[in-house]
């Protein structure tokens, strides 16, 4: 038995959606984080809640990349693949590295399961797996044996097999299973038998690794050099919810969320629904239109109002967004993008709603748009969106995506004291009040909420006279108002921080990304820079208005490359807004970028010049 030291490992747990792979992955993640690795995860689950067991449609996977170095993505290729059945093997094998470790659950490879996914022959018996280090382990059988004495019914007993697999992988990576045991003890405190069954299975898996002599190697991945401080794991959706709550506290406002369930946004609604203790009000509306409408009502009354959705829902909200634009009320509109068009790929990721966010309303209706770059960043993106919304009295669209939403990463826990307060001034002064009298700097109109004597006024979607807010069809006034609302959005750029550039500050190539591609680009950077090439990276936070320094920064490089999970939406935006000629790189497969893809795209640009 030898112990080998590794820097980087990518493990993927795959199985049927009923096999508990998400839980297995989550537990492994927590334990690795506590062990001090940097990491990133990528849960990938089927759109069907319960596709028929053993079918390709029902395969659920959870990938984790952990390392003793900084980690920016869940990893391109897999080092260790755990496959609980043939369907899982079939749909994931292509991602396993040559010579990678493949752990199979023998029982899953029965005739029926093999036939279901059209394996004529058992892949374990032909040469198709010869490139890999295959371990065919009787996971189910050994699990049943380990928990025999508990006399669980067959179904519940079989369900514990994921803990056996987890135990085995814990051994393989020298991980202490104690955190998972503690978690099981807490989680199943009231179900003695289930609790013990899971713990026995976990320990049996660990012991099997240690004693069976099947495995000749195990591995150590040392702690990463991460900045000191207190950390926790956080998923994008959780960070979004916390960010909204933080923004409410920083502004002294009450948080109101109007939402309608949609994948992958629903978790934000779920999370905030549990936060009544903080005075958070959530409203599950009858549809997206009602969800945003209720949020507009709450905003009119002085709440920090938000609505969360995904692509198809944002489409429905378009008309009400136009209203919010006319009313000039603050509103957080969060779109967690998924694969489209239409219902598209509901559980897969895409960045293809940028044009919708920019233009998806009737009439001239520009709105500020911000984008989150990763799970933990959602927290700050939400605060920033809220700050812009209340400072400028405007709806703000925040774009996240399915990859960020479900992905998780270790996150330095912020201190609320370090985050600047958000200044909110409700209008109470009656003297000189006009509903559309603007702050000269931000062009914001006053936030005058019902209940204040003397400020009674009417707002509405009809065009209004500037300052007074009285309905007006005057052609000159209309043009003036269109320009004023646009100027208000443009004014957001005045208070944006300088754009951060990673890598070289000038030179051969600048890669401009947005949203979840941040990690892949960041990870690609060292490989590109080591080649005598000067390469920089911007992960754009502000998509509209664009930062004022962006054009100048782009000008410092020979080339600008814009990789996107769409057909070139940011590229077009940069071309129209800044007159920039950029090289485009598109991928629309419902999957995030792999680091290697970015590297290759960048090299093509570098070599072409």
């Amino acid at each position: 038995m030898t112990t080998e030291q590794l820097e980087n490992v990518v493990i993927r747990f795959t199985g049927d959606s009923g096999d508990g792979m998400q839980l297995t992955g989550t537990e492994f993640t927590k334990t690795s984080a506590i062990a001090g690795n940097d990491l990133a995860t990528f849960p990938d689950f089927p759109a069907e809640i319960r596709a028929p067991a053993g079918t390709l449609a029902g395969v659920s996977g959870f990938q984790i990349h952990f390392s003793s170095n900084a980690v920016f993505t869940p990893g391109d290729a897999v080092d260790v693949l755990v496959a609980m059945n043939p369907a899982a093997l079939k749909s994931n094998l292509a991602d396993l590295k040559e010579d990678g470790v493949l752990i199979l659950n023998s029982e899953g490879f029965n005739k029926r399961n093999l036939e279901r996914v059209n394996y004529d022959k058992d892949p374990r018996q032909d040469s198709s797996l010869s490139k890999y280090r295959v371990f065919d382990v009787d996971i189910t059988g050994m699990t049943l044996k380990a928990i025999e004495e508990l006399k669980l019914n067959q179904r519940s007993a079989v369900r514990c097999k994921n803990f056996f697999a987890l135990g085995l992988v814990y051994w393989m990576f020298n991980r202490d299973p104690k955190h998972t045991i503690e978690w099981v003890e807490k989680k199943f405190a009231k179900q003695e038998t289930i609790k013990n069954a899971n713990i026995y299975a976990l320990k049996a898996g660990y012991a099997f690794g240690e004693t069976s002599e099947v495995f000749t190697h195990n591995y150590i991945v040392k702690k990463a050099d991460i900045p000191k401080g207190r950390y926790r794991n956080i998923s994008g959706n959780e960070a979004l919810a916390l960010g909204m709550m933080a923004a409410a506290e920083l502004s002294g406002l009450e948080l109101f969320l109007g939402s309608y369930p949609i994948t992958p946004a629903s978790d934000v609604l779920h999370y905030l629904s549990r936060q009544k203790k903080f005075g958070v009000k959530t409203f599950q509306a009858e549809d997206e239109i009602a969800a945003i409408s209720a949020a507009i009502g709450a905003s009119f009354c002085g709440s920090l109002a938000a609505t969360t959705t995904s692509g198809p829902g944002l489409v429905l909200k378009g008309e009400a967004l136009g209203l919010a634009n006319m009313l000039e009320l603050p509103l957080l509109v969060i779109d967690i993008q998924r694969g489209g068009p239409s219902t598209g790929l509901p559980t897969k990721t895409e960045q293809a709603d940028l044009m919708l966010a920019l233009h998806g309303r009737n009439g001239e209706s520009p709105l500020p748009i911000v984008a989150a770059k990763g799970p933990g960043d959602c927290f700050y993106a939400a605060i920033e969106a809220a700050r812009i919304a209340v400072t400028h009295m405007t709806p703000v669209i925040l774009l996240s995506d399915g990859y960020i939403a479900n992905g998780a990463e270790p996150w330095p826990i912020p201190s609320m004291q370090d985050i600047p307060k958000i200044d909110v001034q409700f209008r109470t002064e009656v003297e000189g009040f006009q509903p559309y009298l603007r702050d000269p700097k931000t062009l914001a109109r006053p936030w005058a909420i019902p209940g204040v004597p003397g400020l009674e006024h009417r707002v509405g979607g009809l065009e209004k006279q500037d300052v007074t807010g009285t309905v007006s069809y005057d052609p000159q006034n209309h043009e003036h108002m269109i320009k004023t609302r646009a100027a208000k959005v443009a004014a957001v750029a005045d208070s944006l921080p300088p754009t951060e550039v990673d890598g070289d500050l000038e030179g051969d190539l600048l890669i401009v990304g947005w949203g979840s591609s941040h990690g892949a680009i960041e990870a690609a950077l060292p490989a590109l820079r080591s080649n005598n090439k000067k390469v920089g990276h911007i992960g754009l936070r502000y998509l509209n208005p664009l930062p004022k320094d962006l054009k100048e920064i782009c000008g410092r490089y020979q080339n600008v490359l814009v990789p996107e999970l769409n057909m070139g939406q940011l590229s077009k935006h940069l071309q129209t807004e800044l007159g920039l000629k950029v090289a485009e790189y598109h991928k629309v497969q419902g999957k995030p970028f792999r680091v290697i893809e970015i590297i290759e795209a960048a090299k093509r640009v570098l070599e072409a010049n």
């Binding site: 207190r230 926790r232 009000k281 009354c301 209940g451 204040v452």
Partner: protein, 342 residues
Amino acid sequence: MDSLPVINHTDPSTLSKADFTSDQDVRWCPGCGDYSILAQVQRTLPELNIPRENYVFVSGIGCSSRFPYYMNTYGMHSIHGRAPAIATGIKAARPDLSVWVITGDGDSLSIGGNHFIHVMRRNVDLQLMLFNNRIYGITKGQYSPTSEQGKITKSTPMGSIDHPINPVAIALAANATFVARTIDVEAKHLQSMIKRAAEHRGTSFIEVYQNCNIFNDGAFAPLSEKASKADHLLYLEHGKPMRFGKNNEKGIAMIGGCQPAVVDVQSHGEENLLVHDEQSEFIALMLSRFVRSEFPTLIGVIHAVERPTYDSMMAEQLKQAQQKGKDTIQALLDRGDSWEVT
């Protein structure tokens, strides 16, 4: 809500109709029924003992939906059909406000049908006044969901083939806790319905028959003209037998045990007439079906029951959750599986 301004409310006892009249010119067609409804609302509000600054009028789109502009209160003229949803957000955020939804038959029963149903089943504490002129006014005269079958309009040159919607029946089916009907020309009755609706806790639905003298003039003529009115209108009153007619000679009774019918009071006996009970769901459901020509049109409170309101339950849940003491966002951030990197 530390940022909310501290408010010293004005004294509502000094309010008059003029206080509720905004400086905007009212722009409905001369003779439109909307004028009367506006006037009755402006007349009734001073009696409700609510400070003016606590009123919010929300509307959708349509002629009737211009209403908030004419009220000197807080108001929002929103988008087509969505006012109930906006009002729900207003009430959820600020349960202390008196919220009024003004809507038309097209606004609330076509495009906004979904929100109309949901605001009622939730029982959000607000007043919803549906101005029913059985036509689309503002878009110049297409048939509406309440137009009668066979109605000839610009979009139905051979007559509408849609079966009309029955707003009262839908409201009841959605479990509305207050359902009333009245007519634009019956000023006193309209005022009394407004008052009753305002006093009711929960969604108060008032269907107001409103004459659109431009595109559907006389839709309710038999009910509004002196000569025919008494034979066509029955004023419902809680605990009172259902009687109508010029000399109150007609009444409603159950025939054969289970069929309501118009009877002659004298020959049938007053004691055998149906007595209105606002709280009976079954009577309300039955009365909602009085749409055929053999029946009089019922006006008054059709149904009124108490049920906890959405906004009060929401506030109660927050209160309950906060009973265990305040928590800080920092504590929430710190919670969960965390570890120290040293």
